[in-house]
Amino acid sequence: MAGNLEFIKSTTGSSVTSLDVTDCFSADYDVYQFNLVQFDRATADFAGIRFLDSGGTVITANEYDWAHMNMRSYSTFAERRATNNSYIDGLAYSQTTSLDTTTGAVWNIFNPYESSSYTFTKGQSSVMVDGYGVTAFKAIGVHKSAEQITGFQIYTAGTSFNATVKVYGVK
């Protein structure tokens, strides 16, 4: 019997400025789910994702479109978006290394390994903005180049963070 979520791999980074989740996509699945069960950092900023090409090299070209709604319990909601960007934003946010305010997130990635398709993604995250309150992200993104994608990278603007990612194939 086919499974439902099939575990592929777990990747953890400690005090890293980016975290590559390598060789997690294959011809075995069309749809993937990854869970971000921890993300914390000392400097306030968003975290996003980039994809890794067939050689495992991170794609930094301006080939990404993204949009997300930032729903803040303590303020008016905000919409953010970009086209032809170098990453997909809206995965997470943190401004503290306190474990109790770490992020929870579930994202899906569609058709990454299919070389004739763009790679699409959507996700939702729940984070605590320390001193303010809970915030939600509802996000979409696309990599607008038809090529084989083998993994992804948790990307930030450069300051170090701690993160744990679990990847599953969806059957």
Binding site: M1, G3, E6, D28, M71, V106, S126
Partner: protein
């Protein structure tokens, strides 16, 4: 080689299947005030919850959630926070938000007449980790009191570092007439 493929080989052709593990399903067929899940399993960082064919006994009431710690329901005035968007089919939308609450509102102002039902799914993060807050993401589709077709998406939090022993679903007023709620753990999460 991806680890998943390596495991496939190591297990002699038995793939590492079935990581969405059903913990419990509760089926409600008559008027009920509280639906408690008192077993959240072990070892899960992420839980997945489905709410199917939900029918409130009273019009314009919210489906709420509180958590249980050591078997006791948590009702502190600032234990919870919420932020979600509500989109109605008449073209309006609203921002439902508050950083300090004594409960989580999952689905707001559900209709109760005829086939005015609600459906949804929720993720719950870190419920079994005593060092972290518990977070939620919510998605629902329902017929409102108006009645307009509507959807919600957003997040919530239980803002205490505790290990949860359970979760409770209940209405802001009145009972639950009908629903099926399933709680899953995502293994290896």
């Amino acid at each position: 080689m991806p680890i998943g493929q390596a495991k496939f080989g190591l297990l002699g052709g038995v793939a590492d299947l079935g990581k969405l593990e059903l913990i419990e399903t509760q089926t409600i067929t008559s008027s009920t005030a509280l639906i408690d899940f008192e077993d959240l399993g072990t070892g899960y960082n992420v839980h997945f919850i489905t709410v199917n064919n939900f029918h409130s006994a009273t019009d314009s009431q919210d489906l709420n959630l509180r958590v249980l710690v050591g078997g006791s329901v948590q009702t502190g005035a600032s234990d919870y926070g919420r932020a979600f968007n509500v989109n109605y089919s008449n073209g309006t939308n609203s921002q439902d938000k508050d950083p300090t609450l004594d409960r989580l509102r999952l689905i707001p102002e559900i209709g109760a007449f005829g086939r005015e039902h609600a459906n949804g799914y929720f993720y719950m993060y870190n419920a079994l980790d005593s060092s972290k807050y518990t977070f939620f993401n919510q998605h629902s589709t329902f017929l409102s009191r108006d009645p307009f077709y509507a959807t919600t998406f957003g997040a919530g939090s239980y803002q205490q570092s505790n290990t949860l022993s359970g979760i409770r679903f209940y209405m802001s007023s009145g009972n639950i007439n009908e629903t099926e709620i399933s709680l899953y753990g995502i293994a290896e999460s």
